[in-house]
């Protein structure tokens, strides 16, 4: 079948020195465990993963430690067993050298796997075709697989092609960038994994065939893949396509052009052409995820460059520090230390060596200064046009350079700067050594920032205008409400005189005894009616404002009138009840004042009454204030209510003062016991009541006795004046009566202190 595929070519491209032989001399080696693993939460395109562990947690190899945050995101798994040392910001391998949240694991060296099994076992199925593509995609998502070619786009998202029909799967094994051999070694040593991964991918996207594009500088990899296809021993639709070596044939769009002759439209994706493109490393990772249930926790990374004594490929755990790997490869520190992550064309110099390997780190390049001289000082552009010849995306690099340099970003955009794949071919061929790609990266970033700022300004404008509209609306609503209230108040004022007469009649009917309960009930009804009125008014306003509800306006109006009538009625009743209530307590208080005269409990009760009255007055005042504020028509009624209540308070207070004074006076006639008795009366409780009654009785007796003594004395005086012979007998009688009085007074004196002490004790 291979012969039937006609290859195409893309414009431009370059042929830099390959430098691949250095790192392919030895097979892939297993990197030993480092002292710690640093796992950035954001190793892929999309939202950063959300950590599920905290410092101190024990984790097993393959355990989920951070969950995907949204659709375009990728979860993260522990590459080895150990302890979580921290979840903190650490420097990440990025051109910016910024810090981002990372999970730090201290390995325990045991490499204990979490329980895992193949997807077949999990689902109890035997054959790949039995598993639905959806289940496979979901499994790939859960295994944390992101594109391993360099960009790190979430694989599951790329495989969710939606409605687009896919006819061909393309596996990218071109690996066109100099120095990098990670995919080459993977295909050589694990060709069957790549092939089986391709079969899984074919099943997921439902494509008819698969092409694995490999540059012709990797004959061993091509041979291994073909052998694996033969060993497969079953019918397949996979072709290994040898393509000519040219940089950047490994670019997704360039590889598609070579293999199919079609061009991915600007701003489009390969799926628009019915194609899906995946890296061979991703395919192998998918195979391991499906066949063994292993999440993506390691990858093959090339360590190369003349500064390394043993260049080669290592299978490294994600999160392994660069410094640890450099040590493995025999890195010789240079005068100008420069370690590049990625290749010499598209990679970036690492800001430090304690940065971790991520899912996308395919190469660490440590060149000597002679091998890869630092960028020469740029000279002026001589408009030679070599960059335009080299550009694989058919852009005009020279124009883009001028526009980016002079910050004419709109023109750069018109010249399709966003179609630039930043491959570096233009910079490579530039005889003036102008860092062209850096200008484009800057321009792209500035344009993106400008777009974001514009979007934000637009949002701010909308929010500001909506706020203004809201404020206007609120003012209008307030105005309308005030008007409605004023109208209602005017109406009520007009209706009032007619109502006044009725209220008098209602008053007389109301029984005075349960006046208070009645009053409260009425007040409640009145309040409820008021709120109902307000609601109806609002509805009416809304209906008036809204044309579609115009037919409901009369309905609301009649409802409003009804509610208003009800409120008027209630106001009447309320006023009547208040009058009655006022009359009753006054009478009651008068009665109590009379009957309780001389009763030691009465001042206490009166005081309570006074307090209650005062509280009622306060409430009434509050209501009045509210009514005044809202301009309600009940203001007058409430005002009279308040006045009356004030009177009641005054009366109650007077009654209380009087009773206190009476108590004092009563005590005074009994002599020395006045003060304790008064205090006792004020704090009197049930146990002291009998005592008090005895004292009371004694007091009466004493009074009577005093009367008798006085009468006897009168008669004696009369007898003396008339010279009667009864004088002696009468003198004796008076003496006897006085003795009796003294006795009674002594009894009283004995009782009163006892009563006081008992009160104090209680």
């Amino acid at each position: 079948m291979t012969n039937l595929i006609r290859l195409h070519n893309f414009d431009g491209g370059i042929h830099p020195a390959e430098n691949k032989a250095q790192s392919t001399a030895t097979p892939v080696q297993q990197a030993c465990l480092p002292a710690e693993l640093v796992l950035p939460l954001h190793q892929h395109i999309g939202a950063a993963a959300k950590p599920l562990v905290k410092a101190g947690d024990q984790v097993l190899k393959g355990q989920l430690i951070a969950a995907a945050d949204g659709f375009v995101s990728v979860p993260l798994h522990a590459p080895t067993s150990g302890t979580i040392a921290a979840v903190e910001p650490r420097a990440v391998p990025h051109a910016s050298g910024l810090q981002e949240d990372c999970i730090v694991i201290i390995p325990d060296g045991a490499e204990r796997w979490i329980e895992h099994q193949s997807l077949y076992q999990q689902l109890g199925l035997e054959h790949l075709n039995d598993i639905s593509p959806r289940q496979l995609t979901e499994h790939i998502r859960q295994c944390g697989i992101a594109g391993m070619g360099g960009a790190g786009f979430p694989t599951a998202v790329k495989l969710s092609t939606g409605q687009r029909e896919i006819h061909t799967l393309i596996l990218n094994g071109a690996e066109c960038e100099p120095y990098i051999t990670a995919d080459d070694m993977l295909m050589r040593e694990r060709a069957s994994e790549v092939i089986q991964g391709a079969q899984i991918l074919l099943h997921i996207v439902g494509a008819k065939g698969c092409m694995i594009g490999v540059e012709d500088n990797k004959p061993q990899a091509i041979a291994a893949l073909n052998t694996a296809l033969v060993e497969l021993g079953e019918e397949h639709h996979i072709d290994v396509v040898t393509i000519p070596t040219k940089y950047p044939s490994g670019g997704e769009k360039q590889l598609i052009k070579i293999l199919t002759g079609e061009e991915v439209p600007a701003g489009g994706i390969p799926a628009d052409l019915g194609l899906v493109c995946q890296n061979v490393g991703t395919a192998a990772a998918i195979y391991r995820a499906v066949a063994f249930g292993e999440p993506l926790i390691s990858r093959i990374t090339t360590l190369t460059g003349d500064a390394m004594q043993q260049p080669g490929n290592w299978e490294v755990l994600i999160g392994t520090p660069v410094s640890h790997l450099l040590q493995l490869a025999g890195y010789q520190p240079q005068k100008r230390e420069r370690v590049i992550m990625g290749g010499p064309m598209m990679g970036f110099a690492l800001p430090g060596l304690d940065l971790p390997i991520t899912k996308t780190s395919n190469c660490l390049l440590a060149p000597t200064e002679k091998e890869l001289p630092p960028n020469d000082i740029a000279m002026a552009c001589i408009r030679c046009g070599m960059c335009a010849d080299a550009c694989p995306a058919d852009l005009l690099p020279q124009q883009l350079y001028w526009f980016s340099k002079s910050q004419e970003f709109d023109k750069a955009e018109q010249h399709n700067i966003f179609d630039c794949i930043e491959c570096g071919a233009c910079s490579y061929v530039c005889p003036s050594h102008i860092p062209l790609v850096q200008y484009y990266r800057y321009a792209k970033g500035a344009i993106r920032e400008e777009r974001a700022a514009q979007a934000k300004a637009e949002r701010a404008r909308q929010r500001f205008e909506e706020r203004l509209a809201r404020q206007e609306r609120e003012v209008a609503e307030k105005e309308a409400k005030r008007k409605a209230r004023a109208e209602a108040a005017a109406k009520a004022q007009a209706a009032k005189p007619a109502v006044a007469a009725d209220s008098a009649a209602a008053t007389s009917n109301a029984p005075a005894a349960d006046g208070n309960a009645e009053l409260e009930k009425l007040q409640k009804q009145f309040d409820a009616a008021q709120s109902a009125l307000a609601k109806t008014k609002e509805k009416l306003e809304a209906a008036r404002a809204d044309e579609s509800m115009a037919d409901k306006v009369p309905l609301f109006e009649s409802a409003l009138n009804k509610t208003q009538d009800k409120i008027k009625d209630l106001a009447k009743q309320l006023a009547a009840a208040k009058k009655a209530a006022k009359a009753a307590p006054v009478a009651a208080s008068a009665a109590t004042t009379d009957t309780d005269k001389g009763d030691p409990n009465s001042p206490e009760r009166l005081k309570r009454k006074w307090e209650t009255a005062q509280a009622r007055l306060d409430t009434a005042l509050k209501r009045l204030a509210e009514a005044k504020e809202q301009g309600l028509d009940t203001v007058d009624a409430l005002q009279t209510g308040v006045d009356k209540q004030q009177e009641r308070v005054n009366e109650a207070k007077a009654a209380y003062d009087a009773s206190v004074a009476d108590g004092a006076a009563a005590g005074a006639t009994v002599g020395g016991s006045t003060a304790p008795q008064a205090t006792g009366a004020q704090t009197a409780d049930n146990s002291a009541a009998d005592q008090a009654a005895n004292i009371e009785a004694l007091n009466k007796k004493i009074l009577a006795q005093q009367d008798r003594v006085a009468k006897m004395q009168e008669r004696l005086d009369m007898a003396k004046a008339e010279g009667l012979d009864t004088v002696d007998a009468l003198t004796l009688g008076v003496q006897k009566q006085q003795d009796k009085l003294l006795q009674l007074q002594q009894e009283l004196a004995a009782l009163a202190p006892a009563g006081t002490t008992s009160n104090e004790a209680s």
């Binding site: 740029a378 000279m379 980016s404 934000k456 701010a460 929010r463």
Partner: protein
């Protein structure tokens, strides 16, 4: 004679008819395609940064745009800075002027308001001050700023009775970081280049 007269009459009549027809068409177009409002105001408003900070002396960006359309100076917008002045000058065909220092200076870095939440007493004063409703909260409840919606206008800082609002610079992360332009002045002739290199090494 009469033929020549007729020719003149026909010509004049034809021109008159044409004049009436074109007049009618133009009159119709003037009514049918009438532009509501002043379109230049919207164009100016689109160039302004929409921080609604009022530093220009107008209660928002739109009023300032209207003022500019009415002849107001274009150099009164500190948040927009020189970039906005340049765009306004291009749009209006006037000479760009340096930013009027009376209205404030351009911020070096964009900022966003941040409420120290444990110090907030819930007075709602900042909520009333915010022109874009970017502060959440209620009376006697803690308030907080929706950072994504905050324009960094500073208007909430002044009313706060407990000074618990900070204007903090917008942090740079991987999502908004981008490569800076290569340093200029690198295009030198060979002799100067050598000197430059020596200076570099020193």
């Amino acid at each position: 004679m009469s033929a020549a007269l007729w020719t003149i009459v026909i010509a004049v009549g034809l021109l008159a008819v044409l004049a009436v027809i074109f007049g009618a068409v133009l009159g119709f177009a003037a009514i049918r395609f009438k532009v509501e409002g002043n379109p230049i105001v919207d164009q100016i408003n689109n160039l302004l940064p929409q921080t609604q900070c009022g530093q220009c002396g107008y209660p928002g960006c739109k009023p300032y745009a209207e003022a500019i359309a009415g002849g107001e100076k274009i150099n009164k917008c500190p948040p927009g800075g020189e970039g906005t002045i340049q765009s306004l000058a291009d749009l209006l065909g006037v000479e760009p002027e340096p930013l009027d220092a009376e209205h404030g200076a351009e911020k070096a870095v964009p900022t966003v308001a941040f409420i120290r939440e444990d110090e907030c007493i819930g007075c709602t004063k900042c909520i009333q001050a915010c022109p874009v409703d970017a502060i959440l909260g209620a009376a006697k409840q803690m308030h907080t700023v929706i950072a994504d919606e905050c324009t960094g206008c500073d208007l909430c800082v002044e009313p706060c009775p407990v000074d618990c609002i900070d204007m903090i610079p917008v942090s740079v992360d991987k999502s908004n970081w981008y490569w800076q332009a290569p340093t200029s002045g690198v295009e030198l002739i060979a002799t100067d280049r050598h000197h430059h290199l020596a200076g570099d090494a020193a």
